[in-house]
Amino acid sequence: MLNTEVKNMKDMKNTVIETKDLWKKYRGRAAVENLNLNISKGEIYGFLGPNGAGKTTTIRMLLGLITPTSGSIEIFGQDLRKNKLQILRKIGSLVESPSYYGHLSAVDNLEVIRRILDVSKSRIPEVLDIVSLTGEEKRPVKGFSLGMKQRLGIAAALLGSPELLILDEPTNGLDPSGIQEIRSLIKRLPLEQGITVLVSSHLLSEIEQMADTVGIIRQGQLIYQDTITNLQQQAAGEMRLHVSDPIVALNLAGHCGYDGALREDKLIFSRMNDARVALLVKELVENGHSVYRVEEHRQSLEDFFLQVIGGGEA
């Protein structure tokens, strides 16, 4: 009874990937620690973290390439351990460096996969066109450049018309125009075909330009998971006020419901809208303070990211 209720709620939220307390340990050392991912249908989920954070390890667990030390994985509402084939049939993936058969041409590489997926032969020219590899399809792939191999990998991921695309650093090795192309392709997929995308990267700027939701992983732990809009807001910066008598002023502001701090004789508040700034200034002036300067200090998203991922060491 309760179980079906939970299922219904999931359907409403349309959760595509849900991991619960997922762990992967290598010789006692955790590569992924207590990970609770939650990815909804039709969104682009940016999986962000520095080198060695555990992104690839997580993705390999999602694809059943390695088994978790503990915890569970549900994809499309099904347990990965029990329904692996049905789940994998609906996933297209690209893990770490591009995978290919060097002695085969691009078309034959895709044909190898097509025979297993049992999709129509016409999908091959279609996906080659999507990643702009038309014209190169007859050459052995071992002669391809890294970027071309990467494109082939993305073509292979798209071949089975997946509902979920898992791409591990897909723009690795691509030139700027290639990055732009792949980025716009990734952004198009959810809109046009309702595909859900999990894309990992160690570059915030990349995730920021593509993702709807971002999960930040550091040393195997998910330390942030929210929409990109909220992330931008949190990173938006602070207000700094120079006033005649900072200590008393801070006290007064506190009474009026403004949570602030004192730094270098300045009052520091988190970012607020114009009306609240005006109200605060009015309050201070009416109580005899001189307000010399009101500054907005913007922190870049990159700074915020570094601050978040640096949190453990600080």
């Binding site: 694809l63 044909e111 297993i116």
Partner: protein, 246 residues
């Protein structure tokens, strides 16, 4: 549905294999066997099928069949090890069991083709050298088929080793070092029947008096050594492949 997906994996394996140089190796040993077949001379005596079979199968059975079992296994795993093939393949909707068995089927199919070509070379040689009629079909077929059966456990072991070691040379070195003792063991009545690597040779060599119409291997040796090692090697290989981290 279940069997269909297995054949689809096999079709995919065939394509991966077809564009490699594996085919040259298939022809190699039967072609080499032509030499002793052509050169064996018995003054004044008539060329017999038994003579041709025994001279042509010596190097083929003693050396090439066991070594080829290892080379085919290593080649069929090589393109998976090289550029992320395993993770490409295993993130598709396939079970590891079917992937593993399809690879095994490819290896033993290649060995089957080798044996058929050997038979063709043997028949051709008999025809050219005007061997005494009639063709002793049952002896020839049992020799060729028995040699193939005796290769099955070797192929299973080599596949188990090759899927685990990403190096191409290491499984081959192991294979060759297990095959070399054949030279000594083949003539040993005590150890011969129990050494898996010598079974292809024993199975293929015509057995003088009582080899007619039966496997050239004594039946209990075939059952215990060949089938026993086949099951052990295949199950062990599957077990490790099942747990393989990709």
């Amino acid at each position: 549905m279940s069997m269909g997906s297995f054949w689809r994996i096999c079709a995919s394996e065939r394509l991966k294999m077809s564009k490699s140089y594996i085919w040259l190796l298939v022809i190699l040993s039967p072609a080499i066997a032509i030499l002793p077949g052509a050169l064996s001379i018995r003054d004044g005596e008539e060329v017999t099928w038994g003579l041709l079979l025994s001279v042509m199968s010596v190097v083929h059975g003693l050396l090439f069949l066991p070594v080829l079992s290892g080379i085919f296994a290593a080649l069929i795993c090589r393109y998976e090890h090289q550029d992320g093939g395993w993770k490409l393949l295993l993130s598709l909707p396939v079970t590891r069991m079917k992937v593993y068995l399809s690879k095994y089927v490819m290896i033993i199919a290649l060995l089957g083709v080798v044996q058929l070509l050997f038979l063709v070379c043997l028949l051709g040689m008999g025809w050219i050298r005007d061997a005494a009629a009639p063709v002793p079909w049952s002896i020839l077929l049992f020799s060729v088929f028995g040699g193939w059966i005796a290769c099955l456990p070797l192929a299973a072991l080599q596949l188990a080793v090759s899927q685990g070691w990403s190096s191409f040379g290491a499984p081959l070195a192991l294979n060759v070092s297990l095959t070399i003792p054949n030279i000594l063991i083949a003539n040993s009545a005590t150890y011969g029947p129990y050494y898996p690597w010598v079974q292809p040779s024993l199975a293929m060599t015509p057995n003088g008096q009582d080899g007619f119409g039966a496997f050239n291997l004594p039946l209990d040796s075939l059952m215990i050594v060949v089938l026993g090692s086949l099951i052990v090697f295949l199950v062990a290989g599957l077990f490790f492949f099942w747990r393989k981290a990709v």
